[in-house]
């Protein structure tokens, strides 16, 4: 696999996923829609890691489910190597499954408790029988366990006999089995201890170098995303509000929401912490069933003016900026010390 780093491998255009809100037992009527993902566009390049951050309920995980084709999209297109993934059926869809895989958030529910590790990691080979002949599967599974840093002898153990970090490694081995080009990591470390988080992230980083993987790395923790990501997309209420390289987002954030998130990142140095500017957001995230008009962040934004309520800001490169942000009053600011 080449890693030129420029050609887009996955193109997401105006992706929309609405969940109907239904009332009634027998005759259901739709009273509204949860706009979980509401017009998201980005490119993923070969060999890069795109971080997706945002608070709970902003649509990150729904985005992952739609990209995995576990949920049908309401509108929009996703192209993988130029081919629309939502048009694929049967054989083509199965071939696509080999290329895009997912690592799920909770290592305690993402592994079938009644299957051994060997069965779990070997299941991809059973589904895609053309990848490995029957006699080789066991050896392949042991190789995978070795690659993710587990003892290959533990192939007959059950998931409950492992710790959270080890279980997440099993989940990674399963995603890696088919040698996919893209792995979607849906908050892979948020259920783990901080010390284990670092180990798992380092593993993901090593695997990327080794296998030339592209990651979509979803998290709600900015510092976790920074560790791995080449580019970062910040989501708020189903929309991307800012998209830029790691340096652009962390050192020159332009959107007030990103700035607020960055100002909340813990700083280990007390002397720096004392003189630090903190942006406190008030209020709650508005309901995604009934989002505010215009800019969705305006209800919690200290910069909000009339135009914010009337006109929805597009995700574009603003005057005086270098990367796209969806704010009428975008202004680059350096917030993180060091």
């Amino acid at each position: 696999m080449s890693s030129t780093g420029t050609e887009p491998i996955l193109q997401v255009q105006d992706l929309v996923k609405h969940f109907p809100v239904q009332l009634g037992v027998v005759f259901k009527r739709t009273v509204g829609h949860v706009r979980a993902v509401d017009g998201v566009s980005f490119d993923l390049r070969r060999g890069e890691t795109l971080g997706v951050v945002g608070e709970s309920g902003c649509g990150k995980s729904t985005l992952a489910q739609v990209l995995m084709r576990l949920e049908p999209p309401t509108a929009g297109a996703v192209r993988f190597h130029g081919e629309d993934i939502f048009g694929k059926r049967g054989k083509d869809l199965k071939a696509l499954r080999r290329q895009i895989q997912i690592v799920l958030q909770d290592p305690y529910t993402s592994l079938n408790p009644r299957m051994t590790v060997g069965d779990i990691v070997g299941e991809p080979f059973e589904i895609h029988t053309e990848v490995a002949p029957k006699g080789e599967r066991r050896r392949k599974v042991q190789e995978l366990l070795d690659v993710v840093g587990l003892n290959p002898e533990h192939i007959n153990r059950y998931p409950h006999q492992f710790s959270g970090g080890q279980r997440q490694r099993i989940g990674i081995a399963r995603a890696l089995a088919l040698r996919p080009e893209v792995i979607i990591c849906d908050e892979p470390v948020s259920a783990l201890d901080v010390s284990i988080q670092a180990q798992v992230m380092n593993l993901l980083g090593d695997l990327q170098t080794e296998f030339g993987l592209s990651y979509i790395f979803i998290a709600h923790d900015l510092s976790v995303v920074r560790h791995l990501s080449d580019r970062v997309a910040v989501m708020y209420l189903g929309k991307i509000v800012e998209l830029g390289t790691e340096d652009e987002i962390y050192n020159r954030a332009a959107h007030p929401y990103t700035q607020a998130l960055l100002s909340a990142v813990p700083v280990p140095d007390p002397s720096v912490r004392a003189g630090r500017q903190r942006i406190r957001l008030t209020g709650d995230v508005p309901s995604p069933v009934n989002p505010p008009s215009g800019c969705r962040f305006r209800t919690r934004c200290w910069k909000a003016t009339e135009i914010c309520a009337e006109e929805e800001p597009a995700l574009e490169v603003r005057q005086g900026g270098h990367h796209p942000s969806a704010c009428h009053h975008a202004e680059e600011q350096h917030l993180l010390p060091g």
């Binding site: 489910q65 499954r97 799920l104 958030q105 529910t109 592994l111 009644r114 399963r174």
Partner: protein
């Protein structure tokens, strides 16, 4: 078996210490032998006293059911009114019933029908209700709606009323042969009982469907049959299995109820239920008429419940 947790439940001390010696030797021999969940469960079950006891009891009952002639040479339907309601004696261990028939012979011969009725009715109930519940829970939507409403229709029928209607309607058409009478009772009980199993299975399936491991399997491209068979079924079976063991006992009892009402099994079929219902009127003068079939019934139900409990525990990997 080097897992120290398993030693605590291993039972006899001698066995446990044997494991301690054998454990390290087995691991130095080479990598663990691959074992399926079923093989693991079997390995685990063999050292549970409750399991061994229940299996022993069930084995005896099955032998009784299969070859009753081995245990008694008396004809269970040969009656002599001269010895009506005679108490147990050396000649007739369980005494004689109202018509002077040997209670021991009847109890032994009744095992077959009682167990057949219980096992068949439970199997049918679990198969019908389980598969429908699994499909309803997995697919949801209109399939779930249709199956659930269909189950509600059967659920709405009061059991005894439904049984009276079905049994009295088809009573004539099955004739007087023991096979026909038994089959009708089994079918009636299953037809009226499967909605419970279906609901248990459906709720378990709905819970399992939203689990992350099902999502991961679908993300890998697993087909619906594979997801149902490999992921849903093993994780949904436990509650149904537990219900089935209870239901097995209940079905044997239900058979007695129906027989008592005069619509279930009847002569020439001999079953514990028939015997219990016959004994009811003479409880005070001849309690042994009720005691022996009822004791066999209770022991059988207990054995199946213990078996179900042991099997459920063995198949639950968290307990290992």
């Amino acid at each position: 078996m080097t897992d120290p947790a398993s030693l605590g439940t291993a039972g006899p001390l001698a066995e446990a210490s044997h494991d301690l010696v054998a454990g390290p030797a087995a691991t130095t021999d080479g990598p663990e032998r691959p074992r399926s969940l079923a093989a693991d469960a079997w390995h685990d079950l063999r050292r549970r006293p409750l399991f061994l006891l229940s299996v022993g009891l069930i084995a005896v009952l099955l032998v009784l059911a299969a070859v009753p002639q081995l245990f008694t040479s008396v004809d269970p339907s040969a009656g002599d009114l001269a010895r009506s309601r005679q108490a147990p004696s050396a000649q007739a261990w369980f005494g004689y019933d109202l018509l002077g028939r040997d209670v021991f012979a009847r109890t032994i011969h009744g095992t077959r029908v009682s167990i057949i009725v219980g096992v068949l009715a439970t199997t049918l109930t679990v198969l019908i209700g389980g598969s429908m519940g699994l499909l309803a829970g997995f697919y949801g939507g209109w399939i779930d709606g249709m199956l659930s409403r269909f189950a509600d229709v059967f659920f709405g029928l009061p059991f005894v009323l439904g049984a009276i209607v079905i049994l009295s309607t088809f009573r004539e058409s099955v004739g007087a042969g023991p096979v026909g009478i038994t089959a009708l009772v089994v079918l009636t009980m299953s037809a009226l009982s499967w909605p419970v199993t279906m609901r248990i299975m459906r709720s378990a399936a709905i819970a399992a469907r939203n689990q992350d491991y099902v999502r991961a399997a679908r993300g890998l491209g697993a087909s619906a049959p594979r997801v149902i068979w490999r992921h849903m079924l093993p994780n949904c079976l436990a509650p149904v299995l537990v219900y089935a063991t209870i239901a097995l006992g209940a079905f044997i009892g239900t058979e007695a109820t129906l027989s008592f009402l005069g619509i279930g099994l009847r002569d020439p079929v001999v079953s514990w239920g028939v015997m219990i219902s016959e004994a009811r009127d003479y409880l005070r003068v001849a309690p042994f008429l009720l005691l022996f079939p009822a004791a066999f019934l209770a022991v059988t139900v207990l054995a199946f419940v213990m078996l179900g409990d042991a099997v459920r525990e063995a198949f639950d990997p968290k307990g290992r």
